[in-house]
């Protein structure tokens, strides 16, 4: 399977040393964008195994840090021209951003890029999503059911990620402007994962605002999901009471 790379390079025609090397690597597909806004747009729409930000170190780190806020599981590296200062290295490390030095020798640069691509092969293909270290809502499922919390968030047109943690495991529901976009629980995905979470009566949850899922496994409106799942839940409860 091909490794897909998104490359942010403001001047890909005249500063193309790295691009020319990546062109020749087998099983690598590249997509080049010139601006950060364009890269976010592309990352939202498509899946990539890695994101390379090429350019002057301070700007590249700033752009990579910005990308990290929205796509936490994405492998991001900065390909910078000069040896980086300790401050830049620390900032990159904090954000889990790799730093690649654009070596003058073509052989060394090829080795650097090839080793980065190889590292992506072993990188698990988790859905790319964003992160915000601040949890804007934290609670307990004993007090509020998943249906209540989701109803409240959908009505207020929230976008972000709900993480539910219980003895059964962890699950995630991604909202986008008041609609459920993606849900995952173990091997379950989409509506079946939502249905599973609806049944949980114990556990904790937290919500991280602004996290976006690139994957879409749920395409029905929230109201339909709610009615269906509450009905299913009633049926289950009926079975329990029998």
């Amino acid at each position: 399977m091909e490794t897909r790379l998104l490359i942010l390079n403001a001047d890909p025609v005249f500063h193309d040393r790295a691009l020319a090397i990546l062109d020749t690597l087998e099983e690598v597909e590249t997509r080049i964008v010139r601006t950060f806004a364009e890269s976010v747009q592309v990352l939202m729409a498509e899946n990539f195994d890695g994101f390379i930000v090429e350019g002057e170190s301070a700007l590249a780190i700033e752009q990579a840090t910005n990308a990290r806020q929205h796509f936490p599981s994405l492998k991001i590296v900065c390909l910078i021209l000069y040896r980086h200062e300790a401050e830049i290295a620390a900032a990159a490390e904090q954000q889990e951003i790799g730093l690649l030095h654009r070596a003058r020798s073509e052989r060394r640069l090829r080795q650097t890029l090839a080793s980065f691509v190889r590292s992506l092969d072993s990188h698990s293909c988790t859905p790319a999503e964003g992160i915000d270290p601040c949890h804007s809502l934290i609670g307990n499922l004993n007090q509020f059911s998943a249906a209540e919390i989701l109803q409240m968030s959908c009505l207020s047109q929230r976008s972000g990620r709900f993480t539910f943690k219980s003895g059964r495991g962890n699950s995630e529901i991604y909202l986008q402007q008041g609609s459920v976009r993606h849900a995952v629980f173990g091997s379950l995905e989409g509506e079946s994962a939502v249905a599973e979470i609806f049944r949980w009566r114990q556990g904790r949850f937290y919500f991280e605002e602004g996290i976006i899922s690139q994957e879409q496994t749920v395409d029905r409106p929230w109201a339909h999901l709610l009615i269906d799942n509450l009905q299913k839940l009633d049926e289950t409860l009926e079975l329990v009471s029998v």
Partner: protein, 144 residues
């Protein structure tokens, strides 16, 4: 196998085509009289795309050996379309010429991209050894 030169050409062509498409989107918006508002962001985008094309067109066309054929038409498009607002103010004759010349450039680039992709597909099924062996035996005999 991957041919370095082919991949470079394809990359340059894709970047160039991408910019021609974006330019066309903004020109089309400018020509659409039902959309009265042209934002400063759109004008900024237009200038950026135009600047990229002005810088890169000659170099890329040169690499693709289509400089003589397309350079004049491309420059006409870029000179005539000064801004989104400027496009809106063009006479119908200028507008028609602009669209014709944009189309000529776009068509040629599209065809060239297709040819390069076909060549890439052909090469993908070959090993480097088979490729060079084939080239060796295809070499024409030179009469002394």
């Amino acid at each position: 196998m991957r041919d370095k030169e082919l991949e470079t050409r394809l990359r340059l062509l894709t970047l160039q085509l991408d910019n021609w498409k974006k330019l066309h989107d903004l020109i089309t918006y400018g020509l659409d009289k039902t959309k009265p508002i042209i934002s400063s962001e759109q004008e900024h985008q237009f200038t950026e795309i135009r600047a990229n094309l002005l810088q890169e067109t000659e170099h890329i066309f040169g690499e693709l050996n289509i400089l003589a054929e397309l350079s004049g038409k491309a420059m006409n498009v870029l000179q005539r379309s000064v801004s989104v607002r400027g496009v809106r103010d063009l006479t119908s004759e200028d507008m028609r010429r602009l669209e014709m010349e944009w189309n000529a450039v776009f068509t040629k680039l599209g065809v060239a991209q297709g040819q390069l992709k076909a060549r890439r597909k052909q090469l993908a099924g070959q090993t480097a050894f088979a490729y060079y062996l084939g080239r060796l035996f295809r070499r024409p005999a030179i009469a002394c």
